[in-house]
């Protein structure tokens, strides 16, 4: 536990010092969403109809783009192999990094989401389920993405390769995240969708750090 907290503290410290990281993710999130009114036109009813989907897709893309650097910096300067040699299980290390990734990207996304919902004319009913679904879904995205981020260590083309690995795995989160919001807007309960999202998260929680640690071991070998 001490090891976990130490790594979280250090990575948060680094994120703070390097500054702007979270801000950049949020900015990308907002820009990606804003592209859609430009793309589909400003009619508010259409925008409202596609709002949950667009916000979720933008969240996937932001999470994915910010994942590229999850292990990269530590890999390049040799910290990663040193981390693997510390008396902390590599799974814990991966979990700590995922936690920091979520704190610095997922959380800001959740905070920014209501703003985007306003811009996209999302019906008022949709706000609460959107936030809850994002709160359950973004940790799952960070967890799943960590595997991809570890797999691309040392490859020639980072970003785009990562997107191909990770986006297909994100689709279940996308489907249930959106349909939770749609359900409430349509007058139904979002309980089943939110339960499934929780299920995905609970399943990812042990699996992804384990797979991520295995991928990191390959990467630094």
């Amino acid at each position: 536990m001490n090891g976990f907290l130490q790594i979280v503290r250090r990575d948060l410290h680094l994120a703070m010092r390097q500054g702007m990281d979270s801000l950049m993710v949020v900015a990308f999130f907002v820009i990606a969403v804003v592209l859609f009114p430009f793309g589909v036109g400003p009619e508010s009813n259409i925008l409202a109809r596609i709002a949950p989907g667009v916000i979720w897709v933008a969240a996937l893309l932001s999470s994915m783009l910010s994942l590229e650097r999850l292990f990269q910096a530590d890999y390049e300067d040799g910290s990663l192999e040193l981390l693997a040699l510390q008396p902390v299980a590599l799974e814990i290390t991966v979990m700590a990094k995922v936690t920091v990734h979520w704190l610095t990207t997922g959380l800001p996304l959740i905070v920014a989401a209501p703003l985007l919902a306003v811009l996209m004319n999302l019906p008022d009913d949709g706000f609460v389920p959107l936030m809850i679904a994002l709160a359950l879904g973004t940790p799952a995205l960070s967890l799943i993405g960590a595997i991809g981020a570890a797999l691309i260590l040392g490859s020639r083309r980072g970003g785009i390769l990562l997107s191909l690995l990770v986006l297909p795995l994100y689709i279940p989160v996308l489907i249930f995240g959106v349909s939770a919001v749609d359900a409430v807007i349509g007058g139904f309960s979002a309980r089943p969708q939110l339960l499934i999202l929780s299920g995905l998260l609970v399943a990812a929680l042990p699996l992804c750090p384990w797979a991520g640690a295995a991928a990191v071991r390959q990467g630094i070998e």
Partner: protein
């Protein structure tokens, strides 16, 4: 009395055999120096010893127990220095060290850091951010990391790189002190610098066989 040994090690990297049938045995206080030209496998052997990569055949044991059995326990007892010096440019030297050392020590981290910086002659760098350090200074920070938290086994991959004479002397002192306390050292080295009473393995002779 812990013993650190390897038997019949075979290492295969990047589609070629780097070395075969390699043995070593270290008792407390021993030093082992790896020699050989570029690409002969010094780093590869050190990584096998650290458990960073698995040998194709053979076992590395600590006190007769294979290190692959319990990698975490092995991590507990070793320090490794690789080709790169992981010093974060945005953190000060103390902040950089503080992280690595708090993973190993329960308390007294600050004092340990101060003492280690002093031993490597870089006390004046304590509050300088990593981005202003030269290659040699970074290397000394990395060495301070291993001096600060005592463990029985040091694995050093060309630790003398980028060091000037004064720093080399500091390092040699640190190694001597570590061995006096019953520690073991394995290091690769191009330079002549090596403790006189050290064992040596020359990896150069595997090269002819490998090609």
């Amino acid at each position: 009395m812990p013993h650190f040994t390897g038997t019949d090690l075979v290492c295969f990297r990047g589609e070629r055999t780097v070395f075969t049938d390699l043995d070593f045995a270290l008792a407390p206080g021993d030093a082992l120096v790896l020699r050989g030209p570029n690409g002969s496998g010094k780093s590869s052997l050190l990584r096998v010893m650290a458990g960073l990569s698995q040998p194709l055949a053979g076992t590395v044991t600590w006190d007769k127990e294979a290190i692959a059995e319990d990698p975490e326990a092995h991590n507990h007892r070793l320090h490794y220095i690789g080709h790169a010096d992981p010093v974060k440019p945005v953190l000060t030297v103390t902040e950089n060290l503080n992280f690595w050392i708090s993973l190993r020590l329960e308390g007294g981290v600050d004092d340990a850091i101060k003492a280690a910086l002093g031993r490597l002659g870089i006390s004046h760098l304590a509050d300088v951010p990593g981005r202003f350090l030269s290659a040699g200074q970074k290397r000394r920070v990395n060495l301070a990391r291993i001096v600060a938290a005592p463990v029985p086994l040091w694995l050093l991959d060309e630790p003398h790189t980028a060091l000037d004479q004064a720093a080399m002397d500091n390092l040699d002192d640190a190694i001597a002190g570590h061995r006096d306390g019953g520690g073991m050292v394995v290091m690769s080295s191009h330079a002549m610098a090596a403790p006189e009473d050290a064992q040596t393995i020359d990896l150069g002779h595997f090269q002819e066989r490998a090609h």
